[in-house]
């Protein structure tokens, strides 16, 4: 009897194992796309602007995407600002991300820290563990899982009715089945509003009835029906669990101590409003609305957190092999570009006289190559890559005329592509880099070019905010020039004039500190800036100029009808810096040694 029971059990286990194995094999075969099979993909380019209000940074990425309903791939050809620091977990140039039903892949030509193939299913993100602006780029894979968990199928809401000419609405709720994996994010209920088989509004709720997402569709009326023109999406703020490495903080309340390894905080603070603008495009003889611009705002404010422009749509037929090849060809550095990178690493911040003869010849050949390279058909990202490489060669070779002309071209590329904020950031970084190479006269020439473009392409408020951030970055000298340029602007308000004059004073006083006490300069960036300033101007002139600036700033503050909190903070800052400077001067008089 026992033997029979064991035999039955063994047969059952074997049968179940075979069934599971066959399901797995079937699924794999069903999901696998053979690398040689041709598939239709939509190819497009994108300019992605990312703002980080907390870190006060602005980054622009240039990418190409290939998308089909089953897979996608993205390849980053360039990112700005190039010179100086870029607020992102990895330098995005040559970064590739691919996703198909079997795996999520990350590959970088030079920085392999996040390279990897992550088999699907991707698993749960778990508590959020990153702090102080760090973030593992590889965690991006969980964003895909989160998005797929939120997807709604047409079959979930069923067919929409024709409601006739009267414009009558079809309004109904749908309860969705519970997610199999028990994840809380998947919507449990939908609220639908539709007219004439067309979705007007869709709201997604969780199991507790809390709104997860609200979507409103706007259509452009046409003879052959409505064409989706705009989507307005509201994402409410939501709780997120953050985890502490180690034991976590101890919080004492009323004498009772509690240790927390995890706490709950708020994600999407204030909510997010996302606007997607669509444009018509023809795919296989069918007119479809494709997203052409995505803009994400903080709550209901006008502050843009990030945006993506999608353009150059093209239907292409490629095998997965060809797609991979195409993505790498687009985003990876070619041999000439790699040589330029190697030269830059070898001669980083070295005097042009230190470049050996053979390398000089190589660089000159590269210069001829990049200058003569046709830009026809190049994306803006590829053109920026080319002009940045030319600037690198100019720095290494000490080519003043070339640098002026390439910088001018760099500014034009940014303005022609509506990247006016990057004119401020990227231009300032390139000028700073020129001064770090010790090419002060060239830096002066670039500063003149930059000031013209920066002030004409940006509104006064943007320039003032940028200059205020520049004080934190210790970019004082370019900010002084920018404030002088702003104060030339006609019809500047009293408030704007006060802020500009205050920033000017703060920058001048910090520069004076540097020149007056060179021993206090701790890093190479400050040393380069001090060297650049002192090549033209003495500490004494800086002090006099700062004195004039603070006098005028004080008068302007006194003339403000309703000073804001920002004005008062700035006024207090002026007073602090001024009294500190005066104290130091008194100390110097008392102790001239």
């Amino acid at each position: 009897m026992d033997c029979l029971s064991t035999y039955t059990k063994s047969v059952s286990i074997c049968t179940m194992s075979l069934v599971i194995l066959s399901i797995l094999i079937n699924n794999t075969i069903a999901n696998e796309i053979t690398v040689h099979d041709k598939i239709e993909v939509l190819q497009f380019d994108s300019i992605i602007e990312l703002n980080a209000p907390l870190c006060r940074t602005h980054v622009v990425l240039f990418a190409r995407y290939w998308v089909s309903p089953e897979l996608y791939r993205m390849a980053f050809v360039w990112a700005e600002p190039y010179a100086g620091s870029l607020n992102f977990p990895v330098f995005p140039r040559s970064l590739n991300v691919a996703s198909d039903p079997l795996a999520f892949k990350i590959e970088h030509q030079f920085q392999h820290i996040y390279d990897g193939i992550y088999p699907k299913p991707l698993g749960q993100r778990g508590p959020f563990l990153h702090k102080f602006n760090s973030y593992y780029f590889s965690d991006i894979r969980f964003a895909e899982k989160d998005a797929l968990d939120m997807r709604i199928r047409r079959s979930d809401i069923g067919p929409l009715r024709k409601t006739g000419e009267s414009g009558a609405k079809q309004i109904f709720d749908v309860n969705l089945s519970k997610p199999v994996d028990g994840s809380g994010q998947k919507p449990a209920k939908l609220s639908v509003r539709a007219t004439n088989e067309r979705l007007d509004e869709l709201r997604l709720f969780d199991a507790e009835g809390k709104l997860l997402k609200g979507i409103e569709d706007e259509y452009k009326e046409q003879k052959d029906g409505g064409q989706l023109e705009k989507q307005i999406v509201f994402l409410p703020e939501r709780p997120i669990t953050v985890g502490f490495k180690g034991k976590g903080p101890t919080i004492t309340i009323g004498g009772e101590k509690h240790q927390y390894s995890q706490l709950e905080t708020t994600h999407h603070q204030g909510g997010r409003k996302c606007i997607v603008d669509y444009q018509p495009f023809e795919i296989a003889g069918r007119k479809v609305s494709l997203p052409a611009r995505i803009t994400v705002f903080q709550g209901d404010s006008k502050r843009v957190l990030r945006s993506a422009r999608l353009y150059n749509f093209a239907n292409v037929e490629l095998s997965v092999d060809q797609l991979n090849e195409s993505a790498k060809r687009f985003s990876f550095l070619d041999d000439d570009e790699t040589t330029c990178r190697e030269m830059l690493l070898k001669y980083w911040l070295k005097d042009p006289s230190e470049v050996d003869r053979a390398d000089r010849k190589t660089m000159e050949q590269l210069q001829v190559h990049f200058t003569g390279k046709s830009t026809s058909g190049m994306t803006i990202g590829e053109q920026l890559k080319r002009v940045n490489m030319l600037m690198q060669l100019d720095w290494m070779l000490g080519n003043t005329a070339g640098l002026k002309s390439d910088f001018q071209q760099y500014m034009s590329l940014l303005t022609d592509n509506n990247l006016s904020r990057m004119v401020l950031v990227g231009g300032q970084n390139a000028i700073g880099m020129t001064s770090r190479w010790g090419q002060f006269d060239t830096a002066d020439s670039l500063l003149d070019i930059w000031l013209d473009v920066a002030a004409s392409q940006n509104d006064v408020e943007t320039v003032l905010n940028f200059a205020a951030d520049s004080i934190r970055k210790k970019d004082f000298w370019t900010s002084v020039g920018l404030m002088d340029e702003v104060m030339e602007t006609p019809r500047l308000s009293k408030s704007q004039r006060f802020v500009a004059q205050a920033i000017r004073y703060l920058c001048l006083s910090r520069l004076y500190d540097m020149l007056d006490n060179p021993d206090g300069i701790k890093n190479e960036l400050d040393a380069a800036q001090a060297g650049w300033v002192s090549s033209h101007i003495s500490a004494e002139i800086l002090r006099t100029s700062a004195g004039q600036s603070i006098t005028e700033a004080k008068q302007l503050f006194a003339g403000l009808d309703h000073p804001t909190r920002q004005h008062k903070v700035l006024r207090a800052q002026l007073e602090n810096v001024n009294s500190r400077t005066q104290n130091e001067e008194v100390n110097e008089l008392n102790d001239p040694q």
Partner: protein, 107 residues
């Protein structure tokens, strides 16, 4: 006017004193039976104090949580920006699919 008998007058005074004593007794009894007003107020305060204490603890915990989680905020900002890179691809997939409703893949 009829002058009252002194005996009657004495009885009247005795009755009056008895009545006053009875009233005083009743008043005392009612005071001791019903819960003292001050005691009643103390109970309410105790509840309020418990609530206020809990609220104070909640506020303190929220404030401490805010301080303890402040370091995560810049990384959450970075997460949003990094995850946004998938948005064009995922949104386009939704647009190209006949099966999926375009609902914006939130980063």
């Amino acid at each position: 006017m009829i002058e009252k008998n002194p005996e009657d007058k004495r009885k009247y005074l005795l009755r009056l004193v008895a009545l006053l004593c009875l009233m005083s007794l009743c008043l005392n009894c009612s005071t001791s039976v019903s819960p003292p007003v001050t005691d009643s107020n103390t109970d309410g305060d105790s509840d309020d104090i418990t609530n206020v204490g809990q609220r104070a603890r909640d506020v303190a915990l929220r404030s401490a949580t805010k301080a303890a989680t402040g370091g995560f905020r810049p990384s959450l900002e970075m997460k949003e920006n990094v995850d946004f890179l998938l948005t064009p691809a995922l949104l386009m997939q939704e647009t190209l699919s006949d099966e999926i409703i375009t609902t914006y893949p939130s980063e």
